[in-house]
């Protein structure tokens, strides 16, 4: 019976079908969401007067919906409010790969491209909720202990949401992959791993006496992979 049940996946059509090296492609929710939840930073593409823009920004996922934010005055947000087509991409570089010929030089990576219509969050209650999750997705329950947002602050922050209509993930994780006959050549080849890690926390120099880092931030410990801490925080925030 379990064989007949397909895992939830995003629909595939000409917009998101991976054409190049399609054996690396995945469309299932689990793969796509894991790559998204492992990142704090995404790049959003949108078009203004025929000119493409690629803007880096913090973002987060809620189910099959993506959220990101910015100033209400920004170029991107003024243009996305009416439901403009957008593409939100996340990429993790996992290694540089040195091969025995130029053609096989490569990189290991995990990337996902999400397509949909970006829209401003306009409902006031939903906006306050989204602004809470913008913090709590990274630091679960943190907002409850913060100075409350003012009306002016809420007004100055725009939140954009996009239902993921299509998505494709692409993963390369094979390290050195040379042509069979090239392995006999006396040429050095390696996979050079790349990792994004947390450094030593730098407490604000103006902390009130006695205020210390809480145990709720233990997931963000020095030397840990950023992506591990982010996935853990996401799972906790949306438990």
């Amino acid at each position: 019976m379990s064989d007949a049940v397909e895992a939830p996946a995003y629909p595939v059509d000409q917009v998101n079908r991976v054409k190049r090296l399609h054996e690396r492609a995945r469309y299932d929710h689990e793969t796509v969401h894991r790559i998204l939840d492992s990142a704090a930073l995404c790049h959003v593409s949108y078009v203004i007067d025929g000119q493409p823009y690629c803007t880096p920004t913090l973002f987060w996922r809620e189910g099959t919906r993506l959220y990101w934010h910015g100033s209400s005055a920004s170029r991107m947000l003024r243009n996305l409010s009416d439901g403009e087509p957008a593409c939100l991409t996340v990429a993790h570089l996992d290694s540089l790969v040195m091969a025995r010929c130029g053609f096989n030089h490569s990189a290991d990576y995990r990337a996902v491209m999400c397509f949909g219509q970006a829209r401003l969050v306009t409902d006031p209650e939903e906006k306050v909720r989204a602004l809470t999750m913008m913090v709590d997705r990274f630091f679960p329950n943190r907002t409850a202990g913060l100075r409350q947002s003012t009306t002016q602050e809420i007004k100055a922050t725009a939140v954009v949401w996009m239902e993921i209509e299509r998505a494709s993930a692409k993963i390369r994780a094979k390290g050195v992959g040379d042509d069979e006959e090239d392995y006999a050549l006396p040429i050095y080849a390696e996979r050079l791993p790349v990792r994004t890690v947390l450094g030593e926390p730098e407490p604000c120099p103006r902390l009130v006496a006695g205020v210390e880092r809480g145990a709720d931030l233990d997931a963000y410990r020095p030397g840990r992979l950023l992506e591990e801490a982010l996935r853990e925080a996401h799972a906790e925030a949306y438990r």
Copy 2:
């Protein structure tokens, strides 16, 4: 006299002028190029039938020109060959910033957006030269010791170039920045650094006996910041 000499900079107009938090903006070549040369991965935005795409890819800079590559069959490259408007963006996430209110939560980062017309490299000699630099920009002089590229391999790899017509860099590096009255609140705040570092090299398990990692790869040593090694390699490759 020296006061009168302006550093080279990219022109600013409505396409690339930073609107939001413009005090973080830079347009000079030195700042823009340093952010670019510190990265291996970029995101390229382009438009097909009104749909924006955001594709992550390896890239490199030569003067005021950017290069990236992909398969001749890929969606992006088939559409960029005629000189299509594109935006190539690089972003380095340097920290997550926890503040005393939601609004001042932020991140430290260095980002650059480059605008221009993307075109295929069509001249055969220039293409071979570019394919060499695609490897040597990361690993100076490496191509000289590799198995030579075949005609088929050169044909299968498309190289795209784009003259940077406009560019803007945006840098945030201030850590915690709370409203003055909020510093008196008993709330924990910190700057949490994020670093992308090199791991332990993984030599190909099928190396010919006696073939070892050369001293030319010493710049890529475990624990080092990826961006440092990349800047050093770039400077060496274009010395």
